[in-house]
């Protein structure tokens, strides 16, 4: 099953590259998404019946990888069903490279989720950077070129540090006479033998490296540029997909550190990075005129919430994993609706974009509800995870951290609401640019579906998913 999930998107990418007909090429996206999601569901059902297959040296699926891949695959499906309508709005841009890179990304995400070996996880993560760089350059203008260059250079340097961290981890094992094949479950079982200085240094480097890919402050500098300059659909894929993969890669190392009994050291770092990211995002959200950059800072904030939850541990760690799904779903709705509004107004700046509710009612409603969901309004899924992360931090006797976290969430709500309310409800500007864009079912159904899934997940978590989350979080806490 692992090979099917990894090779299917790559094969589809190969076919897309050779397909001359534009409409057929575009249809490969939803087709691959459905086949991938179906294959993954089969794999997960099989795993829940027969137990997780995590013993392979190179590839295998455990609860954590399965959960993250499920999130990415659903997100990819939402994007893939939105893509045909979006690409039809941009007939002037050649979409061959776009579709090939989109599909390659899914293959590499499957590889990250299945990889059992630290080196293989790294190789797959680096490849996701390389496949997403051309996506950023879809608009082919000077600004998107600048964003792509920054993303490529900052992302490559960050991920190079993660490689050094991976080698440090391998050397920590080497010092303790644990040698190849170094798969993660083996490292966790023999974690007692690992050399502590190397393990700690390795964790710091992987946190910096994969943290750069996630966009934790202060390593997030590529993020607002990248998300601002790309189509909303690519923003959705980056904010929900690439970041989730990087988070998974970080959790793999964290689990080894936790198994070695060094969790306290790692948790301090994670809490620090988490709160710093939230605070940094808050400052830059205030009076933010560009609504796509606003979403980029919201992504920085939510990456902060993820690592904060892991740093608190216990219930908060489990709900941090839940938050991964909540964030991916709501962010995809937000980015794609922001993309629609951008298409309609031909601008992303506040004074020009006001009163979207009259020109693009559905997209504007999704944007508004998505904003409410992402800032933690019940009954959407992010409310559940943000609530349990807060209550977890009080339960784990970190009342001050919990209070600070809640204050930051409140501040972010206020800062975001200013811009979002103006975009949605403000008085339409008199000098408006006429564009052919109008909401159609094809451009809005995937958005509504994403928001609907976030709503369902907020009200009801199906039993099998709950079991999966439980075993994933015990894995993260260091028990393979």
């Amino acid at each position: 099953m692992a090979w099917y999930l990894i090779l299917l998107p790559l094969l589809a990418a190969g076919v897309a590259y050779r397909t001359e007909s534009v409409s057929r090429r575009i249809q490969l996206l939803p087709l691959t998404a459905v086949l991938h999601l179906a294959g993954l569901v089969v794999a997960l059902v099989l795993a829940s019946l027969r137990g997780w297959d995590a013993r392979g040296v190179w590839l295998g699926l455990d609860a954590l990888g399965g959960w993250v891949l499920l999130v990415v695959s659903v997100l990819f499906a939402l994007c893939a069903f939105y893509a045909p309508a979006y690409l039809a709005l941009r007939p002037e841009r050649d979409n061959r490279i776009f579709i090939v890179c989109f599909l390659c990304f899914l293959g590499m995400a499957s590889l990250v989720a299945h990889a059992r070996h630290p080196g293989l996880v790294w190789v797959a993560m680096e490849t996701t950077t390389l496949t997403s760089a051309p996506l950023l350059y879809f608009n082919h203008n000077k600004h998107s070129l600048e964003a792509a260059w920054k993303y490529l250079i900052i992302g490559s340097v960050g991920i190079a540090l993660a490689l050094l961290g991976t080698f440090f981890l391998a050397y920590a094992a080497h010092m303790g006479d644990v040698n190849e094949p170094l798969q993660y479950s083996r490292l966790m079982l023999e974690a007692e033998k690992l050399s502590r200085p190397w393990l700690r240094a390795g964790f710091v480097l992987t946190l910096i490296g994969y943290g750069t890919k996630m966009g934790l402050a202060p390593l997030h500098t590529w993020k607002p540029d990248a998300y601002g300059e790309t189509p909303g659909i690519v923003g959705a894929l980056l904010a929900g997909g690439v970041t989730s993969c990087a988070f998974l890669a970080l959790l793999r190392v964290y689990a080894v550190v936790a198994a070695a009994g060094e969790a306290a050291f790692a948790q301090e770092l994670l809490i620090g990075f988490g709160l710093l990211s939230m605070a940094w995002a808050l400052v830059l959200m205030i009076r933010q005129q560009d609504f796509k950059r606003l979403l980029a800072y919201s992504s920085v904030e939510h990456m902060g919430i993820l690592v904060f939850g892991i740093g608190i541990g216990g219930v908060a760690a489990r709900y941090a994993l839940f938050h991964l799904a909540a964030n991916a779903l709501v962010k995809s709705a937000l980015f794609m609706s922001a993309g629609n509004i951008h298409r309609c107004y031909a601008s992303r700046q506040l004074p020009q974009v006001t009163g979207a509710i009259r020109r693009t009612p559905v997209s504007a409603w999704v944007f508004l509800l998505g904003f409410l969901a992402v800032t933690g309004m019940p009954p959407f899924a992010p409310f559940i995870s943000e609530f349990y992360i807060a209550s977890g931090s009080f339960a784990q006797s970190h009342p001050w951290l919990g209070a600070l976290y809640l204050c930051l969430l409140g501040g972010i709500f206020l800062a975001m609401s200013d811009t979002v309310l103006k975009v949605v409800f403000g008085t339409p500007s008199p000098r408006r640019v006429r564009t052919p864009y109008a909401d159609t079912p094809a451009t809005t159904v995937p958005l509504v579906a994403a928001l609907g899934l976030a709503l369902i997940l907020g009200l009801w978590l199906p039993g099998p998913l709950d079991t999966m989350l439980h075993s994933a979080s015990t894995w993260v806490e260091g028990q393979p």
């Binding site: 070129l145 190079a160 391998a170």
Partner: protein, 210 residues
């Protein structure tokens, strides 16, 4: 020992790199460093183990032949303006490189090593990494930034050679492939930058900010 000589050579190339004015020369030095790294396991007397020899051959092929050919292609398209264009003076670069090397030596004291490992190994690797980082942030031209990235990767590769007898061939191949594809993609982006801005000076790339 021969390995010590090689490591000393790598550290010397670091210092030469930061005072180099010509892009062409900087590329040659980074490539030279990569080839020395490729030969290092053989100098350690590991040439009897087939999979290590294969690894070395792959590393030398990628770092000594494929990557330079990518750079040559990028340089052909950039006709004029072949100086690296530093933000800071060469003497300041040299000073920072020396400080970085000292820092690397101090840092490596805290990390225990297996018996019989040359003491200069980890400091040299960290120093090369920091040199790459210095080149990356203190040079204006997009191509020189890629050279910085290559030097940074060289530093990481030097550290990885501590584990050469352990490392799986698949991982090594994946890393080399990613390095090659990474520089290939950077080359494409540089080409687009050149056509869009008519220059490869990254000061042009400063429109996006708060």
């Amino acid at each position: 020992m021969l390995a010590d000589v090689f490591i000393a050579l790598i550290m010397l190339t670091n210092f030469t790199l930061v005072v180099t004015n010509r892009i062409q020369k900087a590329i040659q030095l980074a490539v030279l460093q990569g080839v020395i790294l490729g030969l290092l396991p053989l100098a350690m007397g590991l040439w009897r183990i087939p999979h290590i020899v294969l690894m070395c051959a792959a590393a030398i092929a990628v770092k000594g032949w494929l990557i330079p050919s990518l750079f040559r292609r990028a340089m052909r398209q950039v006709k004029i303006d072949r100086e690296v264009g530093p933000y800071i003076s060469f003497s300041a670069s040299l000073l920072l490189c020396a400080v970085g090397t000292g820092f690397a030596i101090a840092l490596a004291k805290y990390l225990p090593l297996k018996l019989g490992t040359p003491r200069l190994w980890v400091p040299a690797s960290l120093a090369t990494l920091l040199t790459g980082f210095l080149l990356l942030v203190s040079r204006r031209k997009a191509i020189t930034q890629v050279v910085g990235y290559l030097v940074l990767e060289n530093g990481i590769y030097l550290f990885a050679l501590l584990l050469v007898e352990e490392m799986a061939l698949l991982v090594e191949a994946g890393i080399l492939l990613d390095l090659f594809v990474g520089i290939f993609v950077m080359g494409i982006v540089i080409n687009h930058i050149r056509t869009a801005f008519d220059s490869i000076d990254t000061r042009q790339l400063a429109a996006l900010k708060e």
